[in-house]
């Protein structure tokens, strides 16, 4: 029998009546919603403006009627490629940062960036050394390299998953990704050193590793678009369980999240996104690490809000960097990853400083 034990309890005991919501809370929530909407509106406007600039600016005269259509279609493909690269890397960053509960994690921690990069290098090497000599007219390097990137990302993903099946702890995943990255990057460096024997091959290899969109065509974009679209939608759908993962695996599991499944699918989608990004734009650093980090201050940490915002911001950012890379007067285009670092670091540093000043948190 239950005994009455409420003697000596303070006033205002909990009651089970119908709840109410304070007006101040509603106004706070609506202020958050307003802020989120303003951020989305600003991002959409920014992406549109950067896209239009990228379409209007560049080598070649749009006033020439004969050239205008060709130039515009070439630039449109390049803008699409840049946007896909940036959106993929930024959302992959959101996924791995959510998975590892670490805002300093970047998509490369899983080893798939290095895998995709090595796959691309091997494809380039094979094409130059074997296919080009023996004559394979139906195969273009612009298609061989992205396929190599995707295969490389897939193989490195399979290695990570095989180990994750044996021991799925996050620390093990992180270490496996780190070791795999080191190994694959070393092999990639070895291939670069070998390719220096041939001036043309060496140049192509270095250009690929530094990242760039100058050689990107409709085929790469068409190859990567369905993969990126599926992975972006999946990242958004997985948003709610990823929110719960912010409290750690144990709390997420106690609230109903199937943590091993979530871990597996997050690794798969993040790897597809990084593989696709490398296949389009080569090895573009910085975007996946910093874009999600900077956006959290504006749209919050909830993944369903963060994923679309990061896709827009990451895409717009790489379109801008690509525009700069081809607009800067130089002997040839400045590598994309150089521009992402040079433009991104000060911009995001100032954002982070402002956010830190604002509420004391990053």
């Amino acid at each position: 029998m239950l005994r009455a034990r409420a003697r000596g309890l303070p006033r205002g005991q909990p009651n089970m009546s119908v709840p109410t919501t304070e007006p101040s809370q509603r106004s706070q929530r609506s202020a958050d919603t307003q802020r989120g909407r303003r951020t989305y509106a600003a991002l959409c406007a920014g992406v549109l403006a950067v896209g239009l600039c990228a379409l209007a600016l560049g080598h070649g005269d749009l006033g020439d009627r004969n050239l205008r259509d060709i130039l515009l279609s070439l630039r449109a493909v390049r803008i699409a490629a840049a946007f896909l690269t940036g959106a993929s890397l930024a959302v992959a960053g959101v996924l791995v940062q959510g998975l590892f509960r670490n805002p300093l994690a970047s998509p490369s921690v899983l080893g798939t960036t290095a895998g995709a990069s090595l796959g691309g290098q091997l494809a380039l090497l094979s094409f130059q050394l074997l296919l080009a000599k023996d004559g394979a007219p139906s195969l273009q390097p612009s298609l061989v390299v992205p396929i190599g990137c995707l295969l490389g990302a897939l193989l490195s993903l399979l290695v990570v998953l095989a180990i994750a099946r044996r021991n799925g702890e996050l620390l093990v995943l992180l270490l496996v990704g780190f070791i795999l990255s080191s190994l694959l990057l070393s092999i990639g460096d070895f291939i670069i050193s070998l390719s220096q024997e041939s001036w043309e091959l060496g140049r192509a290899m270095v250009a690929f590793v530094l990242g760039g969109l100058s050689g990107t065509g409709t085929q790469q974009v068409a190859l990567a678009t369905p993969l990126v679209a599926c992975a972006l939608v999946a990242a958004w759908l997985w948003g709610r369980p990823l929110d719960l993962m912010l409290s750690g695996e144990e709390e997420a599991a106690s609230l109903g999240v199937d943590v091993p499944q979530l871990r597996l699918w997050t690794v798969i989608w993040a790897s597809i996104l990084t593989g696709a990004a490398v296949s389009i734009g080569g090895n573009v650093g910085f975007v996946g690490l910093v874009v999600p980090h900077a956006l959290r201050g504006f749209v919050g940490v909830e993944h369903r809000k963060l994923v679309p915002a990061c896709a827009l911001a990451g895409g717009g950012f790489v379109v801008l960097c690509d525009l700069i890379s081809r607009a800067v007067p130089a002997h040839s285009e400045v590598p994309l990853s150089v521009v992402t670092g040079l433009v991104g670091a000060p911009v995001f540093l100032s954002l982070l400083l402002r956010m830190t000043r604002g509420d004391g948190h990053v």
């Binding site: 239950l2 005994r3 034990r5 409420a6 000596g8 309890l9 303070p10 205002g12 005991q13 909990p14 009651n15 089970m16 009546s17 709840p19 109410t20 919501t21 304070e22 101040s24 809370q25 706070q28 929530r29 958050d32 509960r101 759908l237 709610r240 369980p241 929110d243 719960l244 912010l246 409290s247 750690g248 144990e250 709390e251 599991a253 106690s254 609230l255 109903g256 999240v257 199937d258 959290r296 919050g300 940490v301 909830e302 948190h361």
Partner: protein, 259 residues
């Protein structure tokens, strides 16, 4: 269908951590509508027991939740039946309290749907009964430890689970909040919830719990009505202290020289 009288029943529960046996041969029942306190010295296996009961650790033996074997339940079904309140949350992100409490509804609509009216009501209700409404728009990590404990309890209540497992909920709470918390647990129990709570303070257990489970080195020393479990013999055997009952509970070292 009427709810089984016994909300939670463990039989011959055994938990291993690596090759070490952390819990062995634990059998007890937690009836619906009662508060069961899990007692024992540090390292007795109290927190491990709660983790095993909430499906977070593999176990041998049997754990029945509302008549179903826990290991046969899907993760979402499990989360709708049992809510676990850890000692401290690992949440380090800038999530607002309202969003943290809303996480408790995940098991009710894990898919694409937005929060429905029933979910919103459950969240508001949980905020209200834990008196965390005023904190709803604050960022969780900026709250005091005591406030965070109340929010974690609100999240557990939002799940609507009828079995509530709490790991040392009053640790670091001031007396006012401790008493409020126990009053809330009693209210929940009176409404039919089965509350299992790990406690360090024996006087709290004596005052607020109906039943007790006393653990020592991973084994069950005593289980039953709280007054029978907190007896001089059991306390001396488990804690090595003498139980003094003059004006309420008091203790002194059984062997003062050992201090």
């Amino acid at each position: 269908m009427s709810e089984p009288r016994c909300a939670l029943r463990a039989r011959e529960l055994r938990v291993l951590r690596g090759s070490r046996t952390v819990l062995d041969s634990i059998s007890f029942e937690a009836p619906a509508g009662s508060v069961l306190s899990v007692l024992g010295p540090n390292g007795a296996g109290k927190s491990t027991l709660l983790r095993a009961l909430s499906g977070l650790l593999p176990y041998a033996g049997s754990v029945e939740l509302q008549g179903s074997e826990a290991r046969d339940l899907a993760r979402l079904d499990m989360a709708r039946r049992v809510a676990f309140v850890p000692q401290r949350s690992m949440l380090a992100s800038q999530l607002r309290v309202h969003a943290v409490v809303a996480q408790g509804r995940y098991a009710h609509h894990p898919g694409l749907q937005h929060m429905r009216e029933a979910d919103a009501r459950a969240v508001s209700h949980a905020l209200q009964v834990t008196r965390t409404e005023a904190l709803a728009e604050r960022v969780f990590t900026e709250l005091s430890y005591g406030e965070q404990r109340r929010v974690l309890l609100a999240r557990a209540l939002a799940t609507g689970a009828r079995i509530l497992l709490l790991d040392e909920p009053t640790a670091s709470l001031d007396i006012q909040h401790s008493l409020s918390l126990f009053a809330l647990l009693r209210t929940l129990a009176a409404a039919g919830t089965s509350v299992v709570v790990v406690l360090h303070q024996l006087d709290e257990a004596r005052r607020f719990a109906d039943r007790a489970l006393l653990l020592h080195h991973g084994r069950c020393i005593a289980h039953g009505p709280v007054a029978q479990v907190i007896s001089p013999e059991h306390i001396a055997a488990v804690y090595g202290v003498r139980l003094l009952e003059r004006d309420g509970l008091g203790f002194e070292l059984a062997d003062p020289a050992s201090a």
